[in-house]
Amino acid sequence: MPSETTAHVLEFPGGYTRSVGPVIGRFLTELRSGRVVGVRTAAGRVLVPPTEYDPDTGDAVTDEFVEVGPAGTVESWSWVPNPRATHPLDRPFAWALIRMDGADTALLHALDLGEEGPEPPRRLRAGLRVRPRFRAERVGSVRDIECFEPEVTMYVAPTRLEYRLHPGRALDRFLEGMSEGRILGHRCEVCDKVLVPMKGLCPMDGVPTTEEVEVADTGTVTTFAVNNIPDPRAPEVPFVSAYILLDGADVAMLALVSGIPADQVRLGMRVRAAWKPREEWGRSIGNIRWFEPTGEPDVPFDAIKDYT
C-alpha cells in the first residue's frame, strides 16, 4: 500500500534579497545589457562565470573584466529527454558546459537544438559551436540568456516553379489521342520509322514529320529493371520499369509493368496497356496505368535486340 501524500508549498514571501557584490554584480549587469563578461585572475585566466576569489589560489580576482563570446564551444553535455516543469525549456534539450570564446572555464546552461525526440541528436557533440539566445526583457540574471543554440550552418531554401506547358503541335495531337484512348505516332518519310510519342521531327534524319499513325496498345518488353526504391506512381515495391516496343512503333517507350510478380517479368514478354477508367482520362500519358502480360508466347530476344 503506498502511503498517502499531501501537497504542500513553502514559499519565501517576496523572495530572498541577495547582495551580489562587485564581481557577480558586473557579470549580471552586463548580462542585462546582452553581453557576457568574465573576470581575470592574477594568473591571467578568464573565469566565466566569474567568481569573486580565484578557485586555484584563494586570492581575490583582479578588477579586469573581459567580454567573451559571443560564441562558445560545447565541452560536455547531458541530454534531457523529459524536461520537468521547472526546466528552462519545455522540449527535450541538453544541459551543456559551454566555454565562451576568450574564457578559460566553462559555463553551465541549457542548449536548445530544436529537437523533439528522446534520443540526443547526432550533431550534439563536444566541439559544437553555440551562441546565447538572449531574452528581449532582461533583468540582470543568468536566465537573461534563455538558452544557447547552435550557430547557423545551413538554411532551407524552399523552391517551387509554376509554369504553363505548351506541348507544341505534335505532342498536342499525341495528348489529344491519349484523351480518346488512342496512341498516336508519326512516320518519318525518310527512314519510314514510326516514332511514339511523336515530336514533329525525326531525330535521325533531321526532317519534320507529319504523317500520323495510330499504333496498338499491345507490345513487347525489350528490356526492364526491377526497382526496389519506392515511387509515388508505382503500385508497390518492387516495381518493374520496362521499355515497351508497341506493335507498329519503331522506338521503345518507358512504362510500368504490373499484373505479374516482378521476378517473372521477361525480355520479350508480350504486354497490353491497362487503361484507367475512362472518367479519369485526361490529356496525359498517365491514362495508361501500366502494362500487363497478354499471355501470348514471348518474342525471341534476337527479334528485339536491335531495339535495345
Partner: protein
Amino acid sequence: MTERCAVIGVGQTAYKTRRLDVSIAGLVREAALRALEDAGLTWTDIDAVVVGKAPDLFEGVIMPETYLADALGARGKPMMRVHTAGSVGGSTGIVAANLIRSGVHQRVLVVAWEKQSESNATWALTVDRPYSASLVVGAGGYFAPHIRAYMQRSNAPDHIGTLVAVKDRENALKNPYAHLKIPGISREMVEMTPMLWEPLRYLETCPSSDGACAMVLASEDAARSAPNPPAWVHGTAMRSEPIVFAGRDTVSPRAGIDCAADVYAQAGITDPRAELDCAEVYVPFSWYEPMWLENLGFCAEGEGWKLTENGATALTGDIPWNPSGGVLSSNPIGASGLIRFAEAALQVRGMAGEYQVDGARRALGHAYGGGAQFFAMWIVGSDRP
C-alpha cells in the same frame, strides 16, 4: 588549333557524403587553390576561368557561375560555364584546353563540382511531365534496363558487375581523396547488399558525393616554368546523340564509338588496349566497365566482360581502368568527368601516389552523360605531342 596544351596543376577536394563545413564557393575554392599550388601560380597568373557542373536543378542554384566568380578569382577575366549533363566535367576540360590550343590564353583555370548533399539528384533527374511515363527511378533506374540488355546480348556471367565493384573500391583504398573506402571489400560483401535496380546491387552503384576538382592548363610557353612535370594533351573529342531515335543502340551508343575513334586518330592510336597505359573511364554503375570496354574499342563487341573477368583492367593488369577508384568510389556528378581527365593527367605526370601505374606515358580520360548520349574524351601523355 596549333598551340600545344599542358596540364600543369591538379587540385581536388576530398570527396565526402556531406561537406557541411563549406559553402559551394568554399568547396570550389579549395580545389582551385590546390591546383594553383601544384602549378606554382597565384590567382593573378590566370587568364580565364572555365567551370562546369550538372544541371542547376540539382542544387537549385541558378547560374552558379555568376556567384562563384569571386571565389575563383575571375573578377575582370573571361569566365564561362559548360553544360553537358553528367559528361560536363569532361566537356569543361576540353573547352578550357581549346582556349589554350587556339592561342587565345596562356593559363586557364578549369573547375567542376557538385555538392550533392544540398540536393536530391534522383528527384532532379526525373521531373514529372505529362508527355511521358515519369518514374522517380533516377540514374540507376534509367541505366539498369540497358545493363540487362548488355548482359543478354553478350552472355556475360552475372558476377562481372561484382568484380568491377570490388576492383574499383580496392583501388579507392589507395586514393586519399576517394569517398567510399571499404576495407576488406569482397565479392561476398557486394553480393550481400540489396538489389536497388535489379540487376544493380547497392554496392554496384556510385555514391553521392560533395566535391570539386580543378586543373590549370597552360600553353607550351607557360608550361616551361611549371614546377612539376606537365601532362600534354594529345587529343580531345566530344560527341552527342538524341536520347530517343529509331534504331538507337543504347548499350553501345554510336556517339561513344565515334568520339573514341576521333580522339584515337588525333593521338595516333590504333589499338587502345596496347597503346594506352591506363584509362580513367566514367563507370557509375559496375557493368559500365565491360560495356565501355567494347564501346571504346578496347576489345571486340561481346568481349568486354572477359577483360574484366581475367583482371586486365585491375591495377596489376595490362590496361588498368580507374586506378583512382573511379566514379564508383567518388561521384560529385558535375566534377566526375573532370576528375577522370585529371586522374589521367596525374598518371602520366607520375603523380598518382599509391595508385600510380608504373611508367604510365599515355592515358585516356572519359566522361559520359544524359541517357548515355553525351561523350567527352581526352588523351594525355608525358611526351610533348
